[in-house]
Amino acid sequence: MSEVKPFYTIAVTGLNAVDNPGPGVPVVRSLKEATSFSCRIVGLCYELMEPGAYMHDLVDVCYQVPYPSAGTEALLSRLDYINEKEHIDVIIPNFDAELFSYIKLEQDLRERHIAMFLPTLEQFEERQKFNLHDFGKRVGLEVPGSINCDTMDDFLAKSDRSEWNYPLVVKGRFYEAYVVHDDGQFVANFGKIAAKWGTPVIVQQFVEGSEFNVIGFGSADSKLLAAVPMRKQFITDKGKAWAGITISDSRLVDMARRFVEASGWRGGFELELMRGRDGNAYVLEINPRIPAWVYLATAAGQNIPELLVNAALGKEVKAFDKYDVGKMFVRCSWDMIVDQEEFGAFSVSGEKDNRKK
């Protein structure tokens, strides 16, 4: 007799499969392919036109949720309403900007029997862009030289211009980065980023080379349970990988292991790396959640969303010890046709049941 698999209700955010896609849809694809459980998916959407909400084969039911700026009380209240109807077992938040709220709500949600598997607030803060340089020094990861600046004068005061030549990278504290080649571009982009994302603005030394990413997963006891390195093969104008291929560089996996062991990281993460002309791999960013190319890792043999659900529910989890090298993903843009009634009902009620045809 075959063993009956457990059945979970899993809520997922980040269903914005747009030109800079959220990880929600590939996370759901991975969950649907889990071998250790079956599941139904509750989509948590900020916007009514997040494409995942209209993918009937993947997402069973959708609810609109308040933006993180509305505060944790508003989010908890909405989650209480949704949980009453859907009986959620696990939530997988997939946006950087909402992680703070979910980390804050972890205890409240646990009391409601909703599990998550997230880093602590300290771990989350330590790898923030504006802390990354110091963090890299502490744990022995190479990070390009960085200066946090409140104003442009601040940068001039803090930098030795003989070492800080153009090109430089001007980065927002949460999102957005520009490579600048002269004073004019520096001034224009610094102002734009400061106005949009606030300060500090991070000015980073530019590293020329090839871009690699590593997706990974850290256990509750600071062990690296999964890691798949990928080389970006096609990059959009927003710097996002539109195609990539798994590679066998053990040095990159070692960097992921060092990150998890040094920080105690719990959950999914992504290292964004640049291998410079000097042969060193520099950490450009550490993203605190599963990246949008997660389905490549699933296809290569490491189903990280499945691992996350089992870890969140306290099930026994084992480290993956291999993955397929040379597996590629090529992203695609696909127009779905939606009846306006379907959209209209969602916009009025903030709820959408995809099981009703």
Partner: protein, 81 residues
């Protein structure tokens, strides 16, 4: 000289370096040359083999082969071992 053991070369001339993720396309002569490196043949033998079968002088092909070898080294596919 030795081709990195991990390098994958298809019949069609597609090369994939699994460590760097780089991929390349070779013409049929390039495939022949790289196969001979894989078999451990020295440069002199490769030059003689090509000159024997194609309309090219030894000096011209030796020069092209040197260029090809430096490219393979640059892309971490060939070592001097």
């Amino acid at each position: 000289m030795k081709i990195n053991a991990n390098i994958a070369i298809s019949q069609s001339g597609y090369i994939f370096n699994p460590q760097t993720g780089e991929s390349f396309s070779l013409n049929p002569i390039g495939v022949e040359v790289i196969r001979m490196f894989q078999e451990g043949k020295p440069k002199e033998t490769i030059v003689a083999s090509i000159v024997d079968r194609y309309d090219v002088t030894a000096s011209a092909f030796a020069c092209d082969l040197d260029d090809f070898v430096s490219l393979l080294k640059q892309y971490e596919m060939l070592t001097d071992e």
